[in-house]
Subunit: 279 residues, 2 copies
């Protein structure tokens, strides 16, 4: 469906093909959690995935894994893509994301054409139990208002989305954490652009860490070691519904499990990351 | 702890270092699901991971991903290991598993020394609700008895483990499937060898697919596209408790989520694979 609005995600993950398997892109500063800091891992994953899929006949990542070696910085980035195996239904590709000759992220993914997938469907997994969207907080607007009132600046990545969050999910920012490791709500791109399977890679890592809602003073920032996103379906138009949880922290290591559903009530993505409590 | 028994897992995943990043191993036929067929994916993952860790100062895989490109065959195998990033706490490595010059599996993993991990611990995840082990079926012995009675032969990989399974999990093999996508139970190595973090990579993929317990005639074999195992802790001595589930099948694509707990009641591994219903 044609969309007349500018598509910031597409623009900020655009890549130029320099030669076989060689791409150039730009890390945009608008996808950081803190102004001027390293970009969000999901954005880095999507930027690399756009280069990966350019090398393939298959447009949709069905499973992509990124290992984060060193934080990238805003500015130009080189992406090297290696076709590992090209098949009729699936292509497997590896990729490196480099800046200044130093590798920042290593990736491995398998792509397919999800528009042509035709096997059986069966959903035994319960959908998300979120309150109606009209009862949720417009978290993006609230963050902008707070910033105007002189509180902390709105996180750049928050402004890329139109976030509608259940009130209880918002308490952590005001000293009333939920008491369990959960984040989530409804979202779509702030500019109204259509969501695609590359955009889901950003969605899978765009919330504050669920541990922030645990109310556990030992837990601060939790840098991602590895993030894997499995994508099932191209999302329908409309808001996505999401849930991210952390349930087990073992000597500093923790999982962050995510599920993303579309407006048709279909599961569109499952994600899991391994993160480590920063010392 | 010294163990006087033979350790078949260690023997069947042994690798010889031929040079920097170059290893030679042998795919043993004893880890297939069907006699003479391709080996189990978790075994292939563990074989490659043993080569990967030989190249590193860090002995434990904290997260390893394998993309299965083509089924390996019993016999010699070459493993090429690339150190992507060596750090103080973590090493990231990529690996290829080849036979006859053809790549069969591509891997990407991050290793650490889990014996030295010292961050916070918190467990909000409920443990497994399995019946007591004494109320479970000795699935390994039962399969051997059946084979003696002239039924189908016991799957080689089943014989590598001492499986104790809840009765309800066994019904699928006798036409009484559970009605939901679940497998699991208790297990340890059949030869009594100690379980380590490499062995957990096999455990993460050693059960029949949970879809077999759905009782859905559309679902046959489900080849793995990608398998990721996150490991938290070196397992304590004793039986492991496991649970594997499939809850969402979308146009043939499905997840298989696993959790593995040790005899101390600690979560030792989380796994997820993406599989595809075979046509």
């Amino acid at each position: 469906m044609a969309d007349p609005t500018p598509n910031r995600f597409e623009r900020d993950t655009a890549v130029e093909r320099l030669g076989t398997g060689r791409y150039r892109g730009t890390v945009d500063p608008g996808w950081a959690v803190i102004e001027g800091a390293a970009p969000n891992g999901g954005y880095v994953l999507a930027l690399a995935a756009r280069a990966m899929r350019d090398a393939l006949p298959h447009p949709d990542p069905v499973t992509v894994t990124a290992h984060f070696l060193a934080p990238p910085e805003p500015g130009p980035v080189d992406i090297e893509v290696e076709l590992v195996r090209g098949g009729r239904r699936h292509s497997t590709v590896a990729a490196k994301l480099l800046q200044g000759g130093r590798e920042r992220t290593r990736l491995l993914g398998t792509f397919a054409d999800l528009g042509a997938a035709d096997g059986p469907t069966r959903l035994d997994r319960p959908g998300l139990e979120l309150p109606p969207r009209d009862d949720c907080v417009d978290a993006t607007s609230r963050s902008l208002e707070r910033a105007k009132d002189g509180a902390y600046p709105a996180p750049p990545i928050l402004l890329r989305f139109d976030h509608r969050m259940p009130t209880e999910m918002m308490g952590w920012a005001e000293g009333r954490p939920l008491g369990r490791g959960e984040m989530g709500g409804y979202l779509r791109w702030a500019d109204g652009a259509p969501m695609d399977t590359l955009g889901l890679l950003v969605v899978a890592d765009c919330y504050p860490p669920p541990v922030f809602n645990m109310g556990d003073s030992r837990l601060g920032w939790v840098p991602t070691i590895e993030l894997t996103v499995q994508i099932r379906k191209r999302p329908a138009d409309g808001y996505l519904a999401t849930r991210f949880t952390t349930e087990a922290i073992t000597n500093g290591y923790l999982e962050e499990d995510g599920e993303v559903w579309d407006a048709d009530g279909d599961l569109v993505a499952l994600s899991r990351q391994l993160a480590l409590v920063a010392r």
